[in-house]
Symmetry: C2
Subunit: 527 residues, 2 copies
């Protein structure tokens, strides 16, 4: 179905009386069509449908659920150029990036289809009855994970495909057996509608209940608040600003029935350049750093916003090379005028800071390119950084800060003062292993992912990935929002005691359980 600006509530397209328009990210002009704004009635309708869909959807057999996810992927690919062109208009992201993001989007839908089929997420556990046990017999106890209920997912501004209407939160919630109600990000409502249409159509094609998936749009925060407040919603997925994530977390905690919010918020992704690495390859690291910093105009959660190193000739070489490389980078298109303005303000604040040195900036944007931004690099002394926590706050975009430490003790002190982060990176040579071994436990307590000799941008969708981290990087450090473990966010265990075979869930029955991996009396049995 071509873009028509309507809400998608289950199988139905719904127009409302009020509307808003998307903005051309590069030109600032308004785009067609107008998009219907969802109000309280539409939120209630979508949530009621989702609640009605919950039992039949979660009870659909695993093969059907997996086929649904694969059908979503196929239909997204089937949207072809229309999706990529609309996304380029609304976000200003280049075609190659959007093709890559689409590949990631359908790749994770297909990966979760595999996860669903494989069935490990069911967490099957069986402790058979011990009728002769003394002093008391043991009942027959069986456990499986079931879906939490309808999930609200918020589209992210910086991933119009991979973390929006058909993104990672949606794929993992649907995989878990949860109906989903999406709130589209208002900066790319058309991209979102197209992807959402593919999912809604896939649900119908697979004979899944209408309320399995809905898609609501609107420019105001009230829409998201209404959605999170609806008593039928049982969990929330969000990727965005700290202010936004905290507002939703607070709202969810004050409901009559509090619910989990998985908010992936902010991170400056500290990169530690250890002395041996600086001595051996300062210039190569500088090139890698500038590429990671300016990739996608720095609009990644994992952008390297902080470099930490011990003062010395190696660091001077790194800074000289990084400043040189950065000065040659072209300005980059940002996602929206709002994001660009916030970035410019952040950089201006750093430039005006008396204790910071401005090391370099990228090529300035021409006067007409209103939403383009240039990279920026600053430096500060370790003690100043420690005494001023605001310096560790994220400036969303291609800006980074070098923290110069006197010695390894100060470096460790700087790391200890950091808030929770998505990632931390160590650049090291063999001569740095001793200090690295001391830093690793500190980093483990601070971050979800530790990298060595790489750059944090680029998040692999696989089994071992962790995209999350201690607060405030995310609202819940116990989970990841990327990778197959993300499904666990939407599950809870249920135990069945002495339930007759024919009333047990199929996967827990004696004759059926052998098809899936299960823990029997503490021992894993594989298929």
């Amino acid at each position: 179905m071509p873009l028509n600006g309507q809400l998608i509530i289950g199988y139905d397209r719904v127009a409302t009386a009020s509307s808003f328009r998307a903005t051309d990210a590069a030109r600032g002009s308004q785009l067609d069509p107008p998009f219907s704004i969802a109000g309280a009635a539409e939120v209630a309708r979508a949530c009621a449908l989702a609640a009605a869909a919950f039992d039949p959807y979660r009870q659909a057999d695993l093969a059907t659920r997996a086929r649904f996810l694969e059908t979503c992927a196929a239909r997204i690919m089937g949207l072809g150029d229309e999706l990529l062109e609309r996304a380029a208009l609304e976000t200003g992201l280049p075609r190659a990036r959007l093709e890559g993001e689409r590949a990631r989007t359908v790749g994770q839908l297909r990966l979760f289809a595999q996860v669903v089929r494989q069935g490990d997420w069911l967490g099957l556990r069986i402790d058979p009855a011990l009728p002769e046990r003394k002093p008391l017999p043991r009942a027959d106890l069986r456990q499986r994970m079931i879906a939490l209920g309808p999930v609200a997912v918020f589209g992210a501004s910086n991933f119009p495909l991979a973390f929006s209407a058909a993104g990672g939160d949606v794929a993992s919630a649907l995989a878990a057996g949860c109906p989903v109600v999406v709130k589209a990000h208002p900066s790319h409502p058309g991209t979102s509608e197209l992807a959402a249409g593919a999912i809604s159509d896939a649900a119908r094609e697979c004979d899944l209940p209408s309320g399995t998936y809905s898609h609501l749009s609107g420019p105001a925060n009230e829409l998201g608040s209404a959605l999170v407040s609806d008593p039928r919603i049982k969990a929330v997925g969000f990727t965005g600003s700290r202010a936004g994530g905290l507002a939703l977390t607070k709202l969810a905690a004050t409901r009559a029935e509090p619910i989990p919010v998985y908010a992936e918020m902010s991170s400056v992704n500290p990169v530690v350049l250890l002395p041996g690495a600086l001595q051996t390859r300062a210039e190569a690291m500088a090139a890698g750093f500038v590429a990671s910093l300016t990739m996608g105009s720095g609009q990644f959660c994992t952008n390297p916003g902080l470099l930490i190193a011990i003062t010395g000739p190696g660091l001077e070489r790194f800074i000289a090379a990084a400043a040189d490389a950065l000065a040659k980078t072209a300005p980059g298109q940002m996602l929206s005028a709002n994001i660009c303005a916030n970035y410019q303000q952040g950089v201006a604040r750093l430039r005006a800071h008396a204790q910071l040195t401005h090391l370099a900036s990228g090529v300035a944007a021409s006067a007409g390119a209103g939403t383009c931004a240039s990279g920026a690099l600053f430096q500060v002394q370790g003690q100043q950084f420690i005494t001023e926590p605001a310096l560790a706050e994220e400036v969303f975009g291609p800006s980074s800060l070098v923290v110069r430490c006197r010695d390894s003790a100060e470096l460790q002190q700087v790391l200890s003062h950091l808030e929770g982060q998505l990632t931390a990176t160590l650049h090291l040579e063999t001569s740095d292993h001793t200090i690295a071994a001391q830093l690793l436990p500190v980093l483990e307590r601070k971050v979800g992912r530790i990298l060595v000799n790489g750059w944090p941008t680029g998040v692999e969708v696989c089994h071992a990935m962790v995209h999350g981290g201690p607060y405030p990087a995310s609202s819940d450090s116990r989970v990841t929002s990327v990778g197959t473990r993300a499904i666990e966010r939407f599950l809870r265990p249920v135990c069945y005691q002495d339930v007759p075979q024919n009333l047990l869930p199929a996967e827990l029955r004696d004759d059926a359980a052998s098809r899936l991996r299960r823990l029997v009396d503490g021992q894993y049995l594989s298929p």
Copy 2:
């Protein structure tokens, strides 16, 4: 070490200037010795020690950690009669129950020692590097779970051993690698101190850091608030009242760094008596019900506080037999004067309710037995129950309410109106399977454990158990507080990207990982 009323902060015994006394549960008199009251300074000291212990404790090898848990169990058994006699004095619980509870306490410590050694909780995942992959190579990605940090555990009034200073929350947090600071329940501070001393001594015996375990006592809520507010505490375990659990949850959510609270709060544990079961064995069910209701004076989280059935001759037979059996039950000692007074008030409120019928009570307590309570049974019509949510609230103690439904539709309606519960039970015969199959999805959404033809009291500590459930049964339906899965509450994942072998955690290295089960490229490899 004999009972001395001092706080236990790491290896040290600490006396403070202020003190309180325990009460003899049966006689109401005050017991020796006086117990030191922990203030802000002691909270800070215990939390600082726990924070200092965190890295060395979580990095201790698994064999040491397992041996520590087994040493805790051995030392608790080594306390011998002193522990049982003190517990009997402070709680009024009979010797046989306390012996059983001690067996459960040491049993779960030993079970978690097995869990620690087996290493599945580490959740090892390895996605090997794919340097030749197009368009981009894949890095080497490895994941393991690590401990959250120091955990605050609140002793429960109704399980002086199994859910207190050495109980399930403590065992699972220590198993996860988290240092623990316990707030003793003020109604059994001596029992708590004895068990805590065993753990502190075991930590020293196993050469674990002093701050691995601390034990604070005091009669006021301020102690618990100070503990949960301490920034070094990273998670909370609590079993108790809804008001208490919600206060801690709220406090934890408003910290600068919010932390998870695992509060197991309240449940009326609905028991559904289906028509075939009533017709076949009404009298036998009545006997089982009264035994479960009055066991331990009804002071279990899983006490059957609600019976739901369709009106008919079978239900009349059940009620007659249950009333008859209940009328013959002796009054039971309650845990404290406060709990007893709350129970009496709850029963008086039900007796005064115009729409409720009082069906039976147990033998009245004699005038002198101030903290003894008698069982009570009431009935109400289904529609009245639905319109008055307060009737579904827990009356902690041996009181239960029969909800009479006109038909199976009303029965389903009654179940749909219930809040989250720890358990739900179906009594059924083969002729009831059709209606049972309709009710099961409803119950799955409401509870953590579904039983058939049993009674909810008695919670097996095993792999498949779920003790938890949707809010307000617990604050977090995604976990269980009993059984081996309880360890997951205190863990979070960390990903290691391209980390050199010698800097990786030992269990993730190529040469060591083969000893523990791990997911490699999506396939499980077993030892």
